[in-house]
Symmetry: C2
Subunit: 399 residues, 2 copies
């Protein structure tokens, strides 16, 4: 049974949270100075426990174990959403380091930009061979528009090779992550063994009207793109519940009116809309509903609405043997205090699962809070989960 130094694991996590600290959380957007500092800090931690670290041309930090194998790959991401929580991806990365320190034959990875400042999952997609140079050329920062190429250049990564997976090296991929919900907390449980990761279908809705003065233009003349956006979103709020599944989610996270001033009728509106489910049939129903609402908007309204699918992922099921190993470890360390559960959030594991067996473990999130600086998990739960992860890894490697 591997012996994890949980005190050191917690100390590492607390040291990492100082980089880009914001209130009790962190602000480490992808390729920001804080993000790059955290990647270099991580490489030091990898060296300390005998891994050979490399930062590649997309920002992935991969620490390679020196043993003959078989190996597991363990990790997550280290950058954060803006002004977000200290654990999120950092937890899974430092758990990988803790497993290596405990003597397990693991490679540890911090995948770049899981959080989607530039497109999302570019690190794990690059590793499995699903990120082209053409896409890198095209991607820009969703908040300030900086091209990804420029960001890579400024981070000193331009020209570095991108590390691709080595077929046959890894028996599987393991990712520890916070739950980002309240199922564990609500049922008094401390560990979640993930059964699968929902697909996320992400859309951009662009509405074009006519920018005009809010006093000079009569109501009958207006082509108010903001109003069309509001009516469309209200229609989706009515229709989506009629087609969704029991665990579906749908979210409008952004409405940007152009130019966004009090006395100007918006000439343009941009809306980000997404939905998630584990069932492909449910995803298809929800997509049809969205398309039909946009079509109906274009029939009723004076403004033109264009729907663009930005990314349509597939649900990813976790490997049964890895789930069984994690479940056995969970029952050993937390008898009766764990459960099987799906992941409502996307994770790097869903891309690794396309190439190798993959599985995930969830720790509880206090109040379910995520992507906010107040995100937190009890230290005893963090320590428990890293022990379950190590034991699960050992069991799976032995199996």
């Amino acid at each position: 049974m591997p012996k994890v130094d949980t005190a050191r694991f917690l100390a590492d996590l607390n040291e990492l949270r100082q980089i880009g600290a914001y209130k009790t959380g962190v602000h480490r957007p992808t390729f920001s100075p804080e993000d790059m500092e955290s990647r270099r800090w991580l490489m030091e931690r990898m060296r300390e426990c005998g891994l050979e670290p490399t930062m590649d041309g997309i920002g992935n930090v991969i620490g390679r174990h020196q043993s003959a194998g078989p190996h597991l790959l363990v990790g997550s991401h280290i950058e954060s959403q803006n002004y977000a929580g200290w654990l999120d991806g950092a937890l899974g990365v430092m758990a990988g380091v803790a497993l290596a320190r405990a003597g397990l034959p693991v490679d540890v990875a911090a995948w770049a930009d899981e959080e989607g400042h530039y497109g999302g999952f570019i690190g794990s997609r690059s590793f499995i061979g699903e990120l082209s140079d053409a896409e890198i050329d095209r991607l820009t920062n969703r908040y300030h528009g900086k091209p990804l190429r420029q960001a890579l250049q400024e981070a000193g990564l331009a020209g570095l090779p991108r590390i691709a997976m080595e077929p046959g090296r890894h028996k599987g991929f393991l990712e520890l992550h916070i739950e980002q919900g309240t199922q564990l907390e609500g049922s008094g449980q401390r560990v979640g063994v993930v059964t699968g990761i929902v697909a996320i279908w992400q859309y951009r809705i662009t509405i074009t009207g006519m920018q005009d003065h809010a006093g000079g233009t009569t109501m009958a003349e207006r082509r108010d793109a903001g109003l069309t956006a509001v009516r469309l979103l209200a229609m989706l709020d009515e229709r989506m519940p009629m087609v969704c599944g029991p665990r579906s989610t749908w979210t409008c996270g952004r409405i940007a009116l152009d130019p966004g001033a009090s006395s100007i009728i918006p000439g343009k509106a941009e809306v980000l809309f997404q939905f998630r489910d584990v069932e492909e049939t449910v995803l298809a129903r929800m997509a049809h509903c969205l398309e039909a609402c946009v079509q109906e908007s274009n029939r009723r309204e004076r403004c033109t609405t264009v729907l663009e699918a930005m990314s349509l992922s597939k649900p990813a099921l976790c490997d049964p043997a890895m789930q069984a190993a994690l479940a056995g470890a969970a029952e050993q360390f937390a008898p009766g205090a764990w459960r099987h559960m799906p992941s409502g959030a996307g994770h790097d594991a869903q891309y690794l699962a396309k190439r190798m067996p993959a599985a995930m473990l969830f720790s509880p999130s206090i109040g379910g809070i995520s992507h906010h600086w107040s995100e937190d998990t009890k230290e005893e739960d963090l320590a428990l989960c890293v022990e379950v992860l190590a034991e699960g890894a050992a069991r799976y490697l032995a199996g």
Copy 2:
């Protein structure tokens, strides 16, 4: 009859549009380097036609005529909305210069920040004694948050005295402006004599929910501030038409979701909502409707909505004698091709009207476009309107 040099007037306008040029429009936000350059440029133009210019501690540029009087005050504002049109306020300021050049005894004013980058109408309000130092301390830029005091400091205006109106000096205030609508163009007319300026009631609506992860948080658990904003705006879209008057307008120009990312349930939404009318009873009905919708939202929704009145102006009626002088001049220069009309937009004249007789003249707006770089008016209409303004001023001064 005053002889206006319309060619010079048009040349001045075209020279001014080079300062902060953006496509065919201008970008001269209040106290930006471009705005300050235009104010200094204006002072030169004033000197050339014998006015004595001063820039005061709030950014007003006032060119004082050297004659004994009686005087008229003529002007508008010179800063622009973001990436907006070349005429808007600049037209009325340069019309004042044209009248002075034609030998009329006019003081010319460019009032600071009519466009509301920092609160709105701070220049004309300062001049009539309705802007306190405490309010200046409090105001910030609505786009980037810079405090007004800091902007004044950076513009070199900190510590300068603010010029207050001199009671008895002015027989009235005249403002030429583009219509910002299509009434003139639609009826084939070239000049509008304004009867009154609508009141604008401007509100900030702040909705507080709970920021959460868009995958981990079930639909039943969410407190989505963006969704509450959408439902409230959809309710207003249904209710407002039942209480408004025939010429009322209402507009939501801005919806800001916090943090505004695709995978985060918005924890906060800020909405700017305004309505306009010339009738106080209609304004009161619309205000009651808005308050009732917010109250109903707070009854139905999981998010808390707070309504704040940011400014509640009064309708301003134009002076009958000044209207008559302008109408006579319009009939002289454009027989049958002018009309009386209300102003749906707010203007500096509404503040001057609190202290002296005031009136406005409208030129047509091509396509009604305003607050956009493509805003335009035919040069022959601009020339006609400045001649009507000069003749109207002469008639009123003689009356």
